[in-house]
Subunit: 352 residues, 2 copies
């Protein structure tokens, strides 16, 4: 099945689930409409990468196309939605997928309505609750997918692990940012460790394994050899795009990761290689919420001049090559291997 | 089975689940220890009311005592933990169950460790993530309870509905506080509507129905006639204790609900009956974070003088009587009816 067709099936399953919840919320109160509107807006974007890897884990392990699998796979988009909504509250991000972040939408509702108290606190509170709704709907959708009980029971340990891992990875990331940079190469190692738990497992390894486990694969663990390096390459690419990407494609303002002060592998590579003067400039500008385009350009030029961008691209190439080699030997059918080879390119492409 | 024995079984199931997660987090990183410590602290308190109602829904519908049921029932404590942690972030509460609120614990960790950036933002972020972990563990624990698939399938719609309802009720509550008071009796009606969705269903009606559904009851819907009025009486009692309760018993500083500015039914009844001068005093003091004991006493005396406390006590008596009458006719065995009669007293008692 081609990617566009998978995406269509995933979207249909996702929207069908949300549409079934709509009357339930309407029955409670019409005042809940902004919750659904914020969710609709968020779900209209996104690349559906996790469901797609889940699908190919299933298909590559001999599973037949069936609507129940698309429903189970699409449930991962609700986990991702909940994680993004909460992430944006924590980071104070303004935009997500080219739209205002959920908490900013609710802030706007508060301001427009002329309500009392802090619009910011209302926005954050409403977004925390919407994220909570997404997290519980994720599991409601997965468990209610209609897949046979024995399939769900096989998938559950991975489904559960994935959710705990992404939240723990997020905590470790936040803790690392708060603790401040380590010296030299230890900083790169630490950033890579967080990438493993927060992104690589969550985005690629676990979804792929989930699909395989649902299909009854006996070789679930072996898929890590492909999923983990590709997941790292994917996140490193995302970090590069967060600094150098085209806002029209990333859905985020130019250099937004720099403004948020994200201590990515790319930043760690930069600081590892920087002169004292360069390092001081990075530490001054990185994480400045008022960072303008000149400041973004200054940081970009240091990232390039130190050789960090080249080093990061080399790492991406290396992890991608590891993933491709592992894929060739992976316990997956020929069709699955071919499709995943295409996805490997998509996940690590220089444009999104 | 007596209440203390049920509580013991519920506690054992709860701690056994958390203990099984512990090595998983340790394996990711020792830096996750504060997450588990904050959860342990929160779970050491609480009355386990929801699991107890779930147990009696099961037992009253002919279910036999079995460890799997205690596990499924105890999972509701993780939902409650997640809701409380997020609620405390949203309300900026300092304490919970006599301990520092989770976000304050993480704030303290940040400050003690001498980390960079805002301790407050770190505290809120870590607590959002810990609440997310609790929400996903709730469903992991419920689904992994070991109850037969057909029992879980019967319980699922109520389990799912309950989770969506509590989050939506929370949103409506927050929205109501932001929009500001309605005039006269409409304010009381509005506060009662939120009590129904946010508390009554979530604390009593749904847990009871969940137990009954798991046991295969054909009369799940009929349990609302008991669960809903008792749930309302329970929340009204909680509101009274939030203003007049003994801090040693409530685990919250005296008058904390007043300091947080909660627009409870009790407050609505007060404003409905207040003179212009009294209403002005209430509007000035209510929600003042720096409200001292004198201010608390002033508000208490207005709540008493307007007759709002008496009116609230009458409502509690009325809803409790409705619940007792419904219980006598409820589709539950004699043992279940007797136990729930005792729980009715506990849930609405003037001391906690």
């Amino acid at each position: 099945m081609v990617a566009s067709r998978i995406r269509k099936e995933v979207d249909e399953a996702l929207y069908a689930f949300v549409d079934r919840q709509r009357p339930l919320l309407d029955a409670v109160s019409g005042d809940l409409a902004p919750m659904l509107a914020a969710l609709d807006s968020l779900l209209s974007g996104g690349k559906r990468l996790r469901p797609e890897f889940c699908y190919w884990g299933w298909r590559g392990s001999g599973g037949e196309d069936r609507p129940e699998l698309f429903t189970a796979a699409a449930s991962l988009e609700l986990l991702q939605a909940g994680a993004l909504i909460h992430d944006d509250v924590m980071d104070g991000s303004d935009t997500r997928r080219g739209q205002p972040a959920a908490h900013r939408r609710f802030e706007g509702l508060h301001a427009e309505s002329g309500w009392r108290g802090s619009a910011e606190a209302f926005g954050a509170g409403a977004a925390i609750l919407l994220g909570d709704v997404c997290l519980t709907w994720c599991d409601e959708m997965f468990q209610g997918s209609g897949l046979p009980d024995e399939a769900l029971r096989r998938g559950r340990p991975i489904f559960d692990l994935m959710r705990t891992e992404v939240m723990c990875g997020q905590y470790l990331d936040m803790r690392g940012q708060a603790r401040g940079p380590l010296a030299g190469h230890a900083m790169v190692e630490e950033a890579l460790r967080i990438v493993r738990f927060k992104s690589a497992k969550y985005t690629i390894e676990r979804p792929l394994q989930l699909g395989a486990a649902l299909a009854g694969s006996e070789s679930v663990a072996e898929l890590s050899a492909y999923g983990m390096p590709l997941g790292i390459a994917f996140q490193l690419r995302d970090d590069v795009l967060g600094v150098f990407g085209d806002p029209a494609q990333t859905g985020k303002p130019a250099g937004d990761d720099l403004r948020e002060g994200k201590r990515t592998v790319l930043v760690a590579l930069t600081l590892e290689r920087a002169t004292t003067a360069q390092a001081q400039t990075v530490e001054t500008l990185l994480g400045d919420p008022a960072l303008d385009l000149d400041g973004v350009e200054t940081l970009r030029s240091i990232i390039v001049a130190t050789g960090a961008l080249d080093a990061c691209e080399k790492m991406i190439d290396g992890y991608t090559a590891d993933a491709e080699a592992a894929l060739a030997a992976a316990p997956l059918g020929a069709e699955g291997r071919e499709a995943l080879s295409g996805l490997t390119v998509v996940a690590t492409a220089r444009t999104v």
